[in-house]
């Protein structure tokens, strides 16, 4: 029995340490795996401050030095950019041969193949095939939440780049890739300075890493500290990573206008040994701005509107409703004024402004008959003559108060209800109640008289023209009418 017992004891002596080694080994592995459990960063986003693609095209044949019209090559896929629709006013274009590009602000685009520049093409910048470039730079803001607590690690952002180190950082947009620019983009790292995360200045390296078959610009934010799980790097207190002044790609091959080109940006969390622990890829889109175009022709617009009965215009209450074409006084009194009014509006973008003049074909004649010269009630009972005012001084260029109903006739006054325009006179000038004037009389040889005007571009300049009439006791019964014409013209 003893011979049997001894081997069993020795087996136990060997087995127990072995089990302990296995136990601690498993425990260590478990601990390590618990600390660096490979995972993805969460809540990851990359936003671009400017999603417009850069422009990289070439001149077509037909351009000439000293011309401000530029024709580009529109052959599909011959160059990354083949349509001027991608450009917007305010862009600065670089045109010419590599190494000697001239700078030309864009004035406007007139067709998909043609645009205008504000200064003429210099000699040497008008050759067929010369580069036409407009860079569109953006800031990329990278936000994320950590998945693991990694001590003394670093965050790394990978942005697609051309394989060529030189071309990927020459400041000239690359079709389908971000350009690093000639001056390295600045990397703003998160700001906390704690025992958990204490960042150093960010670094940027052009086309430094190849992942799969794609090269990437590398932007890093390294830190000292313990790190932590589920730390948000978005807004305060930690803040995101910001990569400033990266040049957006020119359109990819076979790009469709209005459809975004997408680019995978990789965000990695590395440990102190530069091993990637967490890795997440997000796509960002680069797409043309929606171009809104409109042309405003030089123009002047003139409106005449009727005013309803019962309204107050020029301090008087209107007794009839007018239309744009008529002032239908109807039956008028011989002892009280009849008042009516119209509204007139002018808008123009002419730099010199506008003027509206008025003229009547004749004084109001019975059944439209002529009122030769300047008749009075007594001299021609078949006319309602132009009024002469309380003081008998009224004319087509001289105002007079007209409130006395013993002074018969027809006249007008003006009110600028919104203080928008410059009227020839106002109903309440010189503390008057109804300052008024005669209409210029074409039959008497008068020229049209300005009633309101402006000396610059005008937005809806508005005036009330107020008509007043009263018949004399000797005025013959009948229908009286005349024609008043308002001319609106721009001034210069």
């Amino acid at each position: 029995m003893t011979s049997h017992t001894a081997p069993k004891t020795s087996q136990k002596i060997i087995l127990i340490p072995l089990l302990l080694v296995i136990f601690f080994g498993v425990a260590m592995i478990t601990k390590i795996n618990h600390k660096y459990q490979a995972a993805s960063l969460t809540t990851v986003s990359v936003t671009s401050s400017n999603p417009r693609p850069s422009f990289r095209g070439a001149l077509a044949a037909g351009n000439a030095a000293l011309s401000t019209q530029v024709i580009i090559n529109t052959t599909a896929n011959a160059y990354p950019s083949t349509s001027s629709a991608q450009l917007v006013q305010g862009d600065t274009l670089l045109i010419g041969e590599g190494g000697s590009l001239g700078s030309y602000p864009l004035a406007s685009t007139s067709s998909l193949s043609t645009f205008s520049i504000t200064s003429a093409l210099a000699a040497g910048d008008a050759d067929t095939g010369d580069d036409v470039i407009a860079t569109s730079s953006a800031n990329l803001t990278v936000r994320f939440t950590t998945a693991n607590a990694i001590a003394n690690g670093r965050f790394r952002v990978l942005v697609p780049a051309l394989a060529s180190d030189t071309a990927s950082a020459d400041g000239i947009p690359d079709g389908g890739f971000f350009d690093f620019a000639t001056t390295a983009p600045t990397v703003t790292c998160p700001t906390p300075a704690t025992t958990t995360y204490d960042f150093v200045t960010g670094t940027a390296t052009a086309s430094a890493i190849t992942v799969g078959a794609t090269d990437y610009h590398v932007f890093e934010c390294a830190y000292s500290g313990t790190g932590a799980i589920t730390t948000d790097f978005d807004d305060a207190p930690n803040g995101p990573i910001i990569i400033a002044n990266l040049i957006n790609p020119a359109p990819k091959a076979s790009h469709t206008t209005g459809t975004a080109d997408t680019y995978g940006v990789i965000i990695q969390h590395l440990n102190s040994s530069f091993n990637t622990i967490d890795n997440t890829t997000v796509n960002i889109g680069v797409i043309e701005a929606v171009k809104v175009t409109a042309s405003v022709p030089p123009q002047i617009t003139f409106q005449i509107l009727g005013i309803a009965s019962g309204a107050t215009a020029c301090g008087a209450t209107t007794g009839v409703t007018t239309t744009p074409a008529s002032v239908p006084f109807g039956e008028i009194s011989i002892s009280a004024f009849s008042n009516a009014a119209q509204s007139m509006n002018v808008s123009t973008n002419a730099v010199g402004g506008f003027a509206v003049t008025a003229i009547e074909n004749d004084q109001l004649g019975r059944d439209g008959a002529a009122c030769a010269g300047d008749p009075t009630i007594s001299s021609n009972t078949s006319c309602i003559a132009d009024a002469r005012g309380n003081n008998g001084t009224m004319a087509n260029g001289t105002s007079d108060e007209w409130t006395n109903t013993t002074n018969k006739g027809f006249a007008y006054s003006l009110q600028d209800p919104n203080t928008t325009t410059t009227e020839a006179f106002a109903y309440n000038e010189s503390a008057r109640t109804f300052s008024s004037r005669q209409f210029a009389d074409s039959e008497a040889g008068d020229s049209p008289v300005s009633i309101f005007s402006s000396t610059g571009p005008s937005d809806n300049h508005n005036i009330f023209v107020c008509y007043r009439i009263i018949a004399g006791t000797t005025t013959a019964a009948g229908n009286y009418e005349n024609y008043i014409t308002y001319n609106a013209t721009a001034t210069f």
Binding site: Q303, G306, T318, F492
Partner: protein
């Protein structure tokens, strides 16, 4: 029983009675007062004449022997069909040069026959419809060099002109100005000359130095006002500079020039923006002789012209003179008052 019904206005305390009465009176006045025109203005805006023309002003140069076509577009933006009659008439620049006086006649002799025919026609313009008028100008080779000031006027009236019992009928017309220079040469033949500087020779030190510049275009073609007016103090140092607003001055016409705004040097609070055709320099205090120097920069002239203004502290001198007089007058009155007591 409702006790409140037994309360009549006389039973209320006196101040409250007045308040209620005033409120009732104000409400009554408000209720019976006619609406203002501003609130009730257009009777029916859909019924308005609403015409638009483009372009409002055009400057054309036509070489003798060549033909130029100028297009005008008129649009009926209103809601009623209008009958439109186009015609071409002359205009004259007003004395200030900014406005224009429409004439009855047309002195331009080089309208092509097809244009003359079109101008004889009245056409209907439906709501929203546009009409394009092509003016064909064709001066013959022997045409003399001259600038013509024309307005293409479109008179509009409704198709159904209302029959009135009494009162005027209204028609609206809208015009486009056309300044045509017939000349074989492409060089600008405008030539600005200073006609007058309007400014008082003596001003008070506390007032503003204001002046107007009247320019005359003695050339044969309209030209843009270009140049500046400088105000120099007694040390010959420029204290204000006003660039002229680039208004057009027609051939053989006068124009009151306007300053461009804001005036150069507006960062200096002593400068105030000028309005219309008045140039205004207003520092805290003006003293001594000031010189207004006007320079035109046209293709053919560059002539600085000067006008002098003397600023003296008249208002302060008046105060200095009047103050002792008023003091002694006050003392005298006081003395008389005391003596009478």
């Amino acid at each position: 029983m409702w006790p409140s019904r037994d309360i009549n206005i006389q039973s209320l305390p006196h101040p409250l009675t007045k308040l209620v009465a005033i409120t009732c009176l104000a409400l009554s006045v408000w209720l019976i007062s006619p609406p203002t025109a501003r609130a009730q203005a257009p009777s029916d805006s859909d019924d308005a004449y609403d015409l638009s023309i483009s372009p409002p002003v055009t400057y054309l140069q036509v070489e003798p022997g060549k033909t130029v076509t100028h297009a005008l577009t008129i649009e009926n933006k209103g809601q009623q069909t209008l009958m439109v009659s186009p015609k071409i008439i002359d205009f004259q620049a007003s004395d200030s040069g900014a406005g224009l006086d429409l004439q009855a006649e047309n002195s331009f002799p080089y309208l092509a026959s097809q244009t003359k025919a079109v101008l004889q026609e009245t056409f209907a313009l439906n709501p929203g419809q546009k009409y394009r008028l092509n003016l064909v100008l064709s001066p013959p080779l022997e045409a003399q060099e001259k600038e013509y000031h024309l307005t293409v006027l479109f008179a509009a009236a409704p198709v159904d002109y209302p029959r009135l019992e009494a009162g005027p009928r209204i028609s609206g017309a809208i015009g486009s100005n056309l300044i045509v220079f017939v000349s074989p040469q492409q060089t600008n033949k405008g030539r600005l000359k200073l006609k007058e500087v309007k400014a008082p020779p003596l001003i008070d030190s506390l007032s503003a130095l204001t002046f107007q510049v009247l320019a005359e275009n003695v050339g044969s073609q309209a030209t843009t006002a270009s140049g500046s007016a400088h105000v120099l103090n007694w040390q010959k140092k420029t204290v204000a500079e006003f660039k002229f607003f680039p208004d057009m001055v027609l051939a053989n016409s006068l124009r009151s020039l306007r300053p461009s705004l804001p005036a150069t040097g507006s960062a200096n609070p002593a400068f105030e923006p000028s309005g219309e055709s008045t140039f205004r320099y207003k520092p805290l205090f003006l003293i001594g002789p000031y010189t207004i120097e006007v320079t035109f920069q046209s293709a053919t002239t560059q002539e600085p012209l000067v006008f002098r203004v003397l600023a003296l502290p008249f208002s302060l001198m008046l105060i200095v003179v009047l103050a002792p007089v008023l003091y002694f007058l006050a003392m005298y009155i006081t003395k008389l008052t005391l003596a009478s007591k």
